[in-house]
């Protein structure tokens, strides 16, 4: 089969480091080609080069049989290459339709925008590939999965035949992943070529026609999924076995640390999003909350942290009702928070690491003295410890947070939250977007903290992680707790059924 994309000897150097070192990639037209590798292996750089965001220092790029040199993404788009970034590039305050046509607006005579034509086109694209979205929804109201669909339609709308998807499944639940894979297969059937970056090996084996593994900036191997096992792939990626998220022997006590009774809250538009959530977490317990994104978990987390008011009900810590407590008071009472979206909630991108590590604890000793003076030295010392213990890879604690890769940023956030003196940790997707090695480290830390008596509320889209780590599992659907499960006897598939409402827990049993 002809190659849609052929990269030969692509090399990209940054001062002091080679991100890509003679990478070869051969993507046949009409196939789904997966690129696997740990964080920092050079996948993203390679895709940025292919998409024209960065020039390669060396090497040749051949697209549809023609050698090309891109100086901007526009040139890549013109050749039918489209990219869906891991962090969505959408304008929140515009509608789906406006976002899709933004930058390539179809015009009628006189320069007016052809909204009607665009709407029809979008609905058509949606039908063809099963990508259903309402063109008139505001993007800020959409869930992650829907946003992703908007991004894909946006790319298709620009006539892309070669799609680059950067870790598309990182933010999705299994059912959504299945839907995405259906969409991908439909796209492939229509003759599109898909390059997708992933490090969830089961997924890669399921969907890909060809898999290229990259490690430390080099192409390690290109394999067919039928010839390898997940274990082989892991070996190729990291050179060691995949760890599993298992917790053994229970450390649960009967001391209730945090409790919610009949807690209700609204979303930003004022419609009820949490309807009577009741749950308790004990010392030394990890409570997992499963749910398809958008079923009230995010609101629950915000309510717990004091960023969203309860409309009724109670949340209390060690028996003390937290009504009217701000986020700071809750943090000072021993609550920690790993946010689901690190760039939005967790990081000050332009600030040095040590200031980032203080964030959330800036009102507490040793980072502040007399409640007033910031103590930079204490912050630096603490950050150095976090960097070491959580293996944050950075030249120093003085670099700005934006300089780190996503995985290292996440490790810093997890590390700074977990190294505080906590009673409760609310961990929303703590291992999202980090590689297997870092993932195992985070799991290990969670287990340690649990053994040391921490109460953890774990929210995750990674069901293996939920099942493996939790002592107890709750399922949230439409703002309610619909099931309580024992992680010992539930499979990801079974859990998924509860999450979508396909299975219902009987009242008696």
């Amino acid at each position: 089969m002809a190659s849609a994309v052929l990269l030969e000897g692509i090399t990209k150097r940054f001062p002091g480091v080679i991100a890509n070192d003679g990478v070869n990639l051969d993507v046949a037209a009409g196939e789904i080609h997966a690129i696997c590798g740990e964080n920092g292996a050079g996948k993203s750089t390679l895709m940025k080069i292919l998409y024209g965001m960065q020039p390669a220092d060396e090497g040749r790029m051949i697209v549809n049989g023609q050698e090309v040199v891109f100086s901007s993404p526009k040139e890549a788009i013109d050749l039918g290459i489209g990219m869906v970034h891991q962090h969505f590039m959408l304008a929140d305050n515009l509608t789906v339709l406006e976002n899709i046509i933004l930058g390539s607006e179809p015009t009628l005579s006189g320069g007016r925008i052809d909204f009607k034509g665009a709407r029809n086109h979008i609905i058509e694209v949606g039908k063809d590939y099963g990508l259903t979205v309402d063109p008139d929804d505001l993007v800020e109201k959409l869930e992650v999965g829907e946003r992703q669909r908007v991004e894909i339609i946006k790319v298709l709308f620009r006539g892309a035949k070669i799609l680059i998807l950067d870790e598309p499944t990182a933010v999705l639940v299994p059912q959504e992943v299945e839907e995405l894979f259906r969409n991908m297969r439909d796209l492939k059937a229509e003759g599109h070529t898909i390059i997708f970056i992933d490090h969830k090996l089961d997924e890669v084996l399921e969907i890909a026609d060809t898999i290229t593994v990259i490690r430390a900036g080099k192409t390690i191997d290109t394999v067919k999924p039928e010839d390898v096992t997940a274990r082989d792939l892991a070996e190729l990626m990291v050179g060691s076995e995949l760890p599993t998220p298992e917790t053994r022997e229970s450390t649960v006590t009967d001391h209730v640390v945090i409790e919610a009774i009949d807690a209700c809250a609204d979303d930003d538009t004022g419609s009820p999003k949490m309807r009577g959530v009741t749950m308790k977490v004990h010392q030394g317990e990890i409570l997992g909350i499963a749910g398809v994104e958008g079923n009230g978990q995010a609101e629950f987390v915000e309510a717990l942290m004091g960023m969203r008011p309860l409309t009724s009900g109670v949340i209390s810590i060690e028996g003390v009702r937290m009504k009217g407590w701000g986020t700071r008071q809750r943090r000072e009472a021993g609550m920690g928070y790993i946010p689901e979206d690190r760039t939005r909630r967790g990081l000050l991108a332009g600030f040095p690491l040590w200031e980032n590590a203080m964030l959330g604890h800036q009102s507490m000793e040793p980072f502040v003295s007399n409640g007033f003076w910031i103590q930079p030295e204490a912050g630096r010392e603490h950050t150095k410890k976090v960097v070491e213990q959580f293996d944050v890879r950075t030249p120093s604690v003085e670099v700005a947070a934006h300089a780190l890769s996503g995985g290292n940023q996440q490790k810093l956030i997890v590390g700074k939250e977990m190294s505080a003196n906590l009673k409760v940790l609310i961990a929303a997707h703590p291992t999202r977007g980090i590689d297997v090695g870092a993932q195992a480290a985070v799991w290990e830390e969670l287990r340690h903290a649990r053994a040391a008596g921490l109460a953890v509320i774990l929210i995750s889209a990674d069901l293996e992680e939920l099942i493996g780590l939790s002592d107890r599992l709750l399922v949230m659907l439409r703002g309610e707790i619909v099931a309580e499960l024992d992680p010992g006897d539930v499979t990801p598939r079974g859990l998924g059924a509860y999450m979508t409402g396909a299975a219902v827990q009987g009242g008696g049993s």
Binding site: G16, M307, P339, I374
Partner: protein, 385 residues
């Protein structure tokens, strides 16, 4: 270290160079010889008296720059310094003239009054933003007009002292409320300064700069403020109340803005009158941009703009060029500086990211070497059994 210094200096130097080139072109078009113009400006500008009078100009500009910078650090665009300082100046002038206190106390009361008045005026914009979500640019522009053309114009009429002079002016502050000039202090190092009195408020401005530095960089409220400016949602998750921070930034900025009119009021005019210097608030925005919100940077920015203003007088006197050329130069410097800062910042970010990537790669290599070693050990052990 040298690299760091390069990054700090590259942008402003590039900006000045670009400004010189563009101004030369403009001067040529205007039919003047740029070299003569520059050398005259330099010759006049380096005289002791010009430098001292530049300090008088730079002092209020510095305060204004700090007032704007406090807002900038919190991502607030406080354009209202203009209205805030004019409002504060007339209130402080009135209060100062009405009371009679011992020297130091009298001045302190005037300063405090001006800060409260400035904070009150900016607080209105803060309240509107917090309670009604009115953008601060809109509200401060409106409040500028209300302060300058409304409140102050009205109060001038009400508080005007009818006397034989035709000047519209408030009563004069008694001498206990004046700030003595710093000429004696400077003359320790220089020859006698003629015809210029260096305003004593310079010392207050320096103190404000020091307090600003420590408040922003070394205190909790400063950290909260900067965090909210950098990423409001992350700051909120860290326990910072975004509304409180908006209010705090507006009030602090307004309090400093209130000081902008005082160097002149306490050091020179001693009464609010129609000739009171205007536009210091708007120039403060330029100064803050030039100084990148940094206490020392703002000082340099204030001095540069103040110097251009004072040294340019000679152009007109000697007939080298119209004085307006300086307005063009100032504009070009600011524009060039903003662009240069952006370029340098990007470069710095890229290098930082590369260094971080290198650290990652290094750690990875180490890890791999370790793994390989472990495997070898494992193999030999396996072979042995």
């Amino acid at each position: 270290m040298r690299r760091k210094l390069f990054y700090v200096l590259a942008a402003p130097l590039a900006a000045v160079a670009v400004a010189l080139v563009i101004s030369s072109v403009v001067l040529l078009f205007a039919g003047s010889n740029p070299l003569t113009a520059y050398s005259n400006m330099w010759e006049f500008g380096t005289r002791l008296e010009t430098l001292m009078s530049t300090l008088n100009r730079a002092t209020p500009l510095y305060l204004s720059g700090v007032a704007v910078a406090i807002g900038f650090r919190m991502n607030l665009f406080n354009i209202g310094v203009e209205g805030q300082y004019i409002f504060a100046a007339i209130i402080a002038a009135k209060v100062g003239a009405e009371i009679n206190l011992p020297p130091v106390l009298h001045v302190s009361v005037i300063i405090l009054t001006a800060m409260v008045a400035g904070a009150f005026w900016s607080g209105i914009a803060g309240y509107l933003k917090v309670a009604r979500n009115v953008h601060e640019v809109i509200s401060t522009i409106m409040l500028n007009a209300i302060a300058v053309s409304g409140v102050v114009a009205y109060l001038l009429g009400v508080w005007d002292v009818p006397d034989e002079s035709l000047d519209t002016a408030l009563p004069t502050i008694p001498e206990s409320g004046w700030m003595p000039p710093l000429n004696n202090l400077f003359e320790i190092f220089t020859r006698e300064i003629r015809r210029v009195e260096v305003w004593g408020f310079l010392l207050v401005a320096i103190a404000v700069g020091i307090i600003y530095h420590f408040l922003i960089n070394r205190t909790r409220i400063g950290f909260d403020l900067r965090a909210s400016g950098e990423n409001p949602t992350a700051a909120e998750a860290s326990g910072t109340d975004p509304k409180k921070m908006i209010m705090a930034a507006m009030l602090l900025g307004g309090a400093v803005a209130g000081l902008v009119g005082l160097p002149e009021l306490l050091g020179d005019s001693h009464a609010y009158n129609l000739r009171f210097t205007r536009n210091l608030g708007f120039n403060g925005i330029a100064v803050a941009l030039l100084g990148r919100n940094h206490p020392v940077g703002i000082a340099i920015g204030a001095f540069v703009i103040g110097w251009l203003d004072r040294a340019s007088g000679v152009l007109e006197v000697r007939g080298d060029a119209p004085r307006e050329i300086v307005a063009i130069m100032t504009g070009v410097i600011i524009l060039a500086a903003v662009v240069a800062y952006a370029v340098v910042e990007r470069k710095r970010r890229e290098e930082e990211a590369a260094a971080a990537a290198a650290a990652t790669a290094e750690a990875k290599e180490r890890l791999e070497a370790q793994r390989a070693e472990e495997r070898q050990v494992g193999d030999t052990e396996g072979g042995g059994s």
